[in-house]
Amino acid sequence: MDLDQRLNVTKIDTGAVSENSLSRRTFLKVSAAAGGGLLLSFILPRTILSRETADATTVEVFAPNAFIRIGRDGWVTLIMPYVEMGQGTYTSIPMLIAEELEVDLTQVTLEAAPPNERHYANSIFQIQATGGSTSVRAAWEPLRLAGATARMMLVSAAAQNWKVDPTACHAEKGEVIHATSGRRLKYGALVDTVAMLPIPDRVVLKAPENFTLIGTSAKRLDTPDKVNGKAQFSIDVMIPGMKIATVAACPVFGGKLVGVDDSNAKRIKGVHQVVLLDNAVAVIADHMWAAKQGLAALDIQWDEGPNATLSSAEIIRQLETALLKPGVIARKDGDVAKAMAGAAMRIEALYQMPFLAHATMEPLSCTVHVRKNGCDVWVGSQVLARAQATAAEVTGLPLEKILVHNQLLGGGFGRRLEVDFITQAVQIAKQVDGPVKVVWTREEDIQHDIYRPYYCDRMVAGLDKSGMPVAWSHRSAGSSIYARWHPPAFKDGLDPDVLEGAAEPPPPYALPNMLVEYVRQEPPGIPTGFWRGVGPTHNVFVVESFIDELAAAAKKDPVEYRRALLGTSPRAKAVLELAAEKAGWGQPLPEGRGRGVSVQFVFGSYVAQVAEVQVDKNGEVRVTRVVCAVDCGVVVNPDTVKAQMEGGIMFGLAAALFSEITVKNGRVEQSNFNDYRMLRMNEAPAIEVYLVKSGEAPGGIGEPGTSALAPALTNAIFAATGTRIRKLPVNRVELRSAKL
């Protein structure tokens, strides 16, 4: 059935809603669903850019990207563009609907929205993405509004049926009830009537004190099939007649394929075909074992191209040079030069952070079936519309002929915001008769990632006689991810990510004279991309390390020093105090142990962490405990927030202690978990997470746990050893010599 037929279109003036400060006008349509029942079509903001682009709901053409279907059986189905990659979205988003619609969470099922339907087409050239810790933030208002609209209309339909005043009726657990007469009607019996009703002029959302689901640790909906092997990830896709391929791209970034001798590979049982691309070779086989053996048996000639001699040292030299130049001014408060000239003490420090790989546990894979008149793509992607667009471009088929079937993501962390592996899989599949699943080896994953950029930062501060900062200057040099990933977001030499936590939003401290500059310096050859915690992983490390250095120079306690600067940021101060109290800040520790603290406001959430470390005489660092206090506004699912903080801390800890991608002769030197080390069970600290009760709008939770960790760790190492870590990952040799 055509959605645009018989559509009931109304503007909902949410600004008039009592007890809710909804400022936007939202479009929503109600219609009959195909096969009976009710369909609500509405717009969810495109997540990743919600920070800096115009509200999607102000567009002229109504292009819904989310739908709620209520069937005659009473089942509620939510079709939405956000994807599940472990962050709990498939539970927290339905919770928003279930709360306002007054149904049990178990009555809501979820379908990932494919980008192939006509109704999603308008989102193609926008960004249909899951990332940036934005899903709940973006969906918070529209989803509750959609649920509340449906609930009010169901109540009206029942009242009409009974010929009573709607205000005498209420909704509860999937039924409308007329309390005085005791009459009840299930939603399923009302949906066909509702489809014919006008949308109410005014929609009233529940007051937070009346929430029964939001704020509870509802059980996750996606996990039962993840403990019994049934959950299907991208790499698990099985299509009848499917072949399996594995691939090797030119080991040097930017290199090309010259030629291949595949005679040995083709002799391997199970190998069917060798496919040549401009910069890669793939072996098509019956199974991964044959494909891997086939790949190893190829004799490949590469043209290594312009990056054949590229090394990390050269990239770092370029960044260090760039850091000497003035940058684009991202923030200028007061007069830094004047304040610096009048300062009693001047502190300067240089920081560096390495390239990082994502190393999602599920290696990249994509299954593609290209036919003359159509193409199917099975993949786990954070950007479904881009997946569709790249398949259309490679095949030359129109968008509507590309069907993308989204799968669960075995970790995203930003890697699946990229479509390089999808483009490649479609290029391979174009040359294969029938469906083919392209699976990357772990080596390919580590050596052909799109890396968290390398950054170099220079910090200068002037302190007054009492040791408090009167001037703050921060210059950062590194790659702009947005400039490549979404060029319109890179404006006037700046983007919304690269200085998050340094300039916009700034550090939460009262810093009266402040200058923050950015020098864009792209590494030759090395692709850079979003990585869990993105800009803040770099900025929070720099800012929170430097604040700690200032506290040390002022001979003040790191928590007290920060507290004194947080007078205008009560929420930051509150998380700092909570974390310090729970961590037992100030209580004595044995020799070789120390505590470190960090505070941040990024992704719309306030987080403070206290890490406790032990450093032995060999320079080995053991993190024994991390205490984390979070104020992320209204909490939808407290257990999910805790889980995301725990996971974010482990992710940040692995990176700060171990992770570094280095380049030699244009090649990544690491290849697998033996040399790109992960955090393991025996290295995992105890973690305590404390949530601050708040009525503020929800903040992000997927990434703040990661960005807060590194400075808490290195500040703790300083407390334990007196050695200041200004370059990540932590260098054990440096710590060892510091102890001698």
């Binding site: 990659m85 996606d222 993840k226 403990v227 991964m288 074992w289 257990d639 482990m650 393991r680 995992a684």
Partner: protein
């Protein structure tokens, strides 16, 4: 041609004898619950039981498990310990992306079968070989302890 005893049933697989069990399970028999993570026995997500012992199927040639009893995540819930571990995993909401959890659960079940009341050092020793990139380690530890408690 190999006859493999998997989850109590005999299956035929016409594969080379040096082919790792992982790919036989996943690509030949279509049992995708056992995951591929590294291919070099570094991450543990491919863990299955062979005669009750946890092994890394990505480096185990299929010839080496002929005639042995293989158990995978698809059937481990049929054992009391397996069911207990799965329940503890859900009770404590261990899982995030879930990709490594087949391997984590197979390692935990093997641990509890050998050591019904493991201490932290036992848990570290049994679980350190299995990587979780989502960082669910604290909950895995807690879930193992919960599963270790005697059934009431």
């Amino acid at each position: 041609m190999f006859t493999l005893n998997i989850n109590g049933k005999d299956c035929e697989a016409n594969v080379p004898e040096d082919m790792p069990l992982l790919w036989v399970l996943r690509d030949v028999l279509g049992m995708t619950g056992t995951k591929f993570g590294c291919g070099i026995a570094q991450c543990g997500v491919c863990t299955v039981h062979v005669d009750g012992q946890p092994i890394r199927s990505c480096v185990m040639p299929v010839v080496a498990v002929r005639g042995k009893k293989i158990m995978t995540i698809e059937a481990v819930g049929q054992t009391p310990t397996g069911a207990n571990v799965q329940k503890a995993w859900l009770d404590l909401e261990v899982v995030q992306c879930g990709y490594c959890q087949s391997g984590q659960i197979m390692c935990a079940v093997a641990l509890l079968a050998a050591t019904p009341q493991p201490n932290d050092a036992d848990i570290d020793a049994a679980m350190a070989g299995t990587i979780c990139r989502c960082g669910t380690y604290t909950r895995i530890r807690a879930a193992i302890k919960r599963a270790a408690q005697p059934l009431k």
